[in-house]
């Protein structure tokens, strides 16, 4: 594959990834449709088409295993399309597993190495081949008096659709239209779209008779619920003739309708019941029997087979957007300098005109810059639905493996978040959903005993709240046993016996996120080793977010994740701590106040002030950052400046020297020897070559309130 450029390969990977995602999406739709009993044949066609495209791509890039998988799937899906195999829960399982396999193969292809699970490849191929075991195709026992000439040229798929429609009791119509050769493209398309609203176009063929050299007559076979009269009223026009295809006198009992047997659906369901659109067929595998049909007409047949890409989109590496954002940050610094210059000039005598000119420039620059910032941010935004779809697949698969019935209800899939955040959110969310199914949702019998609905509900809700996004993972399972949690924390030494006595329910639930705490005795395949929720918390914290748990025993559990919409550029409050400049993300700042040192009280060795009747624990940042010791900090004269910060319902007052102002900042990660440093979310440029550290508010709050450091600050005082 060395002859293919890296760029092209990159494109291949991202395109294949996109197709696999669409495939997964359509399979989920198919799954839902199978449950509700109305499977759109076009959906099956769409799935078929994804696989077909993947096969083509794989061939192009010499990705043999991807190609083989696509080839086998294509056969299987073709059988499905033709009604030779039934759409069952097992078959859907197989297809979902194929999606997983695609993902692994793609990863292996990309990494140029053996990815985990790829050795299952050969057995999986055999399984697919076996599932495709064909039923004998029934010969059409048609009760209609169709032109044998027409029947002879039906493709297998068209025949299948014809039988299916007849079984469902639809009437057959023959629509005969004469088109001018010059306008056949547009004419046929418009007629087709009008007919699709009325029924399913089974096939259309030129008759080869009765037309002069300048025109062509076409026969359309239409299946419809409508009566002949209403059809006539709807489409009859000059050059269009509609006849009902008469039923034969010797009408026997039709073949039993196509049924699907499914463990998922209680009753059997016919595969196809709604078919508003014509079968999708690429023109290449549709041999045209009538030579008289021009190439143009063939092109009309497969409008979807066009080589033009449908979407007007470009794929962009997120790093390029990061670079743009970085440039924008530098421009923001320039803007600040321009502003300062404008201010300075204003006070110069005789510079009045220049000053107002500069002020105007500064103002315009500011506006344009915000617009540009908005534009770049918008490009980075993707809907959370991208992750949710993956989760739907997980729920489906896991609920079958665990033999638990669960519905995944998704709201707010359109909520948009920065692409990087979405990427890093999928693992934590997956973990939480798995936990909900495995631990939260009770076994069938247990649910029946307490009178809960047999089908459990897991809800994924996303919504925007100010400049943050909230994602909730909710289940209607048994809830978290906080007593068991406390006991587990006690036995692993996380809590002392006294602390265990006093702990509130909310704090007890917080133990869920401590490493090594599990209430589960058996370690399951899916979760339950007590690692996990702490990792979830750490991962979410890395995104600048917080996770919180609520639970009612017997009713359910809800995890709430609050995330910033973007990390690329954020509003921040700049503060001075012992001469150093630090940025506090505005999303975590409630307000800033000054208090008299005399109003500070000591409660359990911690400094606390009372504000509007609520007590607020304090954290001296100079002490926390080890730039002053406690005595020095306490000896500072004057009022205390306090920035009140919050994270997941916890509040803390950061004591700072001075508040410098508000600024939009671009956060840069700390790397190299500082990668493991906790307490800072990164650094940002402030202009004039200065750099400020961005405070990791949730971490510092938690640290300040942590039991272990309780005595820390004021022990010396």
């Amino acid at each position: 594959m060395t002859d293919i450029g890296d760029k092209a390969r990159e494109d291949f990977f991202s395109e294949a990834q996109e197709i696999i995602e669409s495939l997964s999406r359509d399979l989920l739709l198919l799954d839902t449709a199978a449950h509700s009993g109305a499977v759109d044949p076009d959906l099956v066609n769409e799935v078929f088409r994804h696989v077909h495209t993947l096969k083509g791509l794989s061939g192009l890039f010499n990705a043999t295993r991807l190609g083989t998988l696509s080839h086998e799937l294509e056969n299987l899906l073709d059988d499905l399309r033709m009604g030779r195999v039934q759409l069952s829960g097992d078959l859907l399982d197989l297809l979902f597993r194929a999606v997983e396999m695609y993902g692994r193969l793609l990863a292996a292809e990309k990494g140029g190495e053996q990815a985990a699970g790829v050795d299952e490849f050969d057995p999986f191929m055999l399984e697919i081949q076996k599932s495709g075991t064909r039923r004998a195709v029934q010969s059409p026992t048609l009760a209609y008096d169709l032109d044998p000439g027409m029947l002879a040229v039906l493709t297998e798929y068209e025949e299948h659709r014809l039988r299916n429609n007849i079984q469902r009791g639809l009437k057959l119509y023959r629509v005969r239209v004469v088109f001018d050769l010059a306008t056949i493209d547009a004419g046929l398309e418009s007629l087709k779209s009008r007919l699709k609203a009325l029924g399913e176009i089974l096939t259309y063929l030129p008759t080869g008779t009765g037309a002069d050299a300048e025109s062509i007559e076409i026969d359309i076979l239409l299946a419809s619920h409508e009566s002949l009269d209403s059809l006539k009223a709807a489409i009859e026009a000059q050059g269009i003739r509609i006849d009902e295809v008469p039923k034969r006198a010797t009408e026997g009992p039709g073949p039993s309708p196509d049924r699907m047997h499914s463990e998922l659906a209680p009753e059997s369901i016919a595969i196809a019941s709604v078919a508003p659109e014509a079968p999708l067929k690429s023109s290449s595998d549709m041999p045209m029997q009538h030579k008289s049909l021009s190439d143009r007409a063939v092109a009309v047949r497969g409008p979807d087979a066009s080589l033009r890409s449908v979407a007007q989109t470009v794929r962009v590496d997120i790093q390029k957007l990061d670079h743009l954002m970085s440039l924008l940050g530098e421009m923001a610094i320039l803007k600040g300098m321009l502003g300062r210059l404008a201010d300075k000039t204003r006070h110069e005598p005789g510079q009045r005109e220049t000053a107002s000119e500069l002020a105007r420039l500064h103002h315009t620059f500011d506006r344009q810059l915000s617009a540009m910032q908005g534009g770049i941010l918008e490009v980075r935004m993707v809907p959370l639905g991208q992750v949710f779809e993956k989760l739907a697949r997980v729920v489906r698969q896991l609920s079958r493996e665990l033999d638990k019935d669960a519905n995944l209800i998704i709201t707010g899939a359109e909520t948009e978040v920065d692409k990087l955040i979405v990427e890093d959110l999928s693992d934590p969310l997956m973990h939480m959903v798995r936990n909900a199914l495995d631990h939260g949702i009770e076994a069938r019998q247990e649910r029946a005993k307490v009178g809960k609905p047999a089908v459990a509900t897991i809800a994924l809700n996303a919504f925007q709240k100010g400049n943050q996004v909230v994602v909730e993972v909710e289940d209607d399972g048994r809830g978290v046993d906080d007593h068991a949690l406390v006991k587990a924390a006690l036995s692993s030494g996380i809590l002392s016996p006294e602390e265990a006595q006093e702990i509130s329910r909310h704090d007890a639930l917080g133990l869920l996120f401590m490493p090594g705490v599990t209430t589960r005795k058996d370690v399951g395949k899916h979760s339950g080793r007590g690692v996990g929720m702490d990792v979830v918390k750490t991962n979410i914290a890395r995104l600048g977010g917080v996770v919180d748990a609520q639970s009612e025993p017997g009713i359910g559990t809800k995890f709430t994740i609050t995330l910033p919409i973007t990390l690329a550029i954020i509003g921040a409050l700049l503060v001075d701590v012992a001469g150093g400049i630090f940025a506090v993300p505005l999303s975590s700042v409630q307000e800033a106040v000054t208090v008299d040192p005399s109003s500070v009280r000591l409660i359990e060795g911690r400094e606390v002030v009372t504000l509007r009747g609520e007590s607020l624990p304090l954290c001296r940042l100079d002490v926390a950052f080890q730039v002053r010791d406690v005595e020095e900090s306490l000896a500072r004269p004057g009022k205390m400046v306090i920035v009140i910060a919050s994270a997941s319902a916890r509040r803390c007052g950061f004591v700072v020297d001075r508040i410098l102002g508000r600024q939009d900042i671009v956060i840069k990660a700390l790397g190299g020897p500082l990668k493991a440093l906790r307490g800072f979310a990164g650094a940002t440029e402030l202009g004039d070559e200065r750099v400020g550290l961005v405070i990791d508010t949730p971490f510092l709050i938690e640290e300040a309130l942590a039991v272990s450091t309780r005595a820390g600050v004021v022990a010396h005082a």
Partner: protein
């Protein structure tokens, strides 16, 4: 910015004799008043010292962070690791930028950049026991040029040790 010293080194090498076997190029600099050198191909750039922002709670030996061309770079003070006296920042002080793994860069603080030495392999003596054991681990060898003794540092080793600690 490495140009000045590089060309000086180049001229030096040209002035000297040829046929000394394969040459390795080292950039010499001062740390704690002594002369150290690292292989020049490891150095991405040399910059004057911008304001360094100290980082609270950073591991010892990290002077702080600076911003260079849109990137935030941690500056390492090798004198801590090598247990050398810390001389004050001067106009000669520089930061050497060394790309490390994953596209990241660290800055190495040096007191003064001296020149480029081209040493053939037979001009490099193996590190004997002359050096203290701690520093000895991070030394490729000793170079001798016109009577001066240059300690050739093993950059990979010294940076790795830093991350482990």
């Amino acid at each position: 910015m490495p140009d000045r010293s590089a060309s000086r080194g180049g001229a030096l090498a040209r002035a000297k004799g040829k046929d000394r076997g394969p040459l390795r190029e080292f950039l010499a600099f001062k740390l704690g008043g002594e002369i150290y050198a690292i292989e020049i191909h490891r150095i991405g750039a040399i910059l004057k010292v911008p304001p360094i922002t100290p980082v609270p709670r950073a591991p010892e030996g990290v002077m702080g962070i600076i911003s260079v061309r849109g990137k935030v770079v941690a500056v390492i003070d090798l004198r801590v690791k090598l247990q050398l006296p810390r001389l004050a920042l001067s106009r000669q002080s520089r930061i050497l930028f060394v790309p490390v793994d994953d596209g990241e860069t660290v800055g190495l603080f040096v007191e003064e950049v001296l020149q480029v030495y081209r040493l053939s392999t037979d001009e490099i003596e193996p590190p004997g026991n002359a050096l203290g054991s701690d520093a000895g681990e991070h030394v490729i060898g000793l170079g001798r040029q016109q009577g001066a003794l240059i300690v050739l540092m093993d950059l990979t080793s010294i940076l790795k040790r830093r991350e482990a600690s």
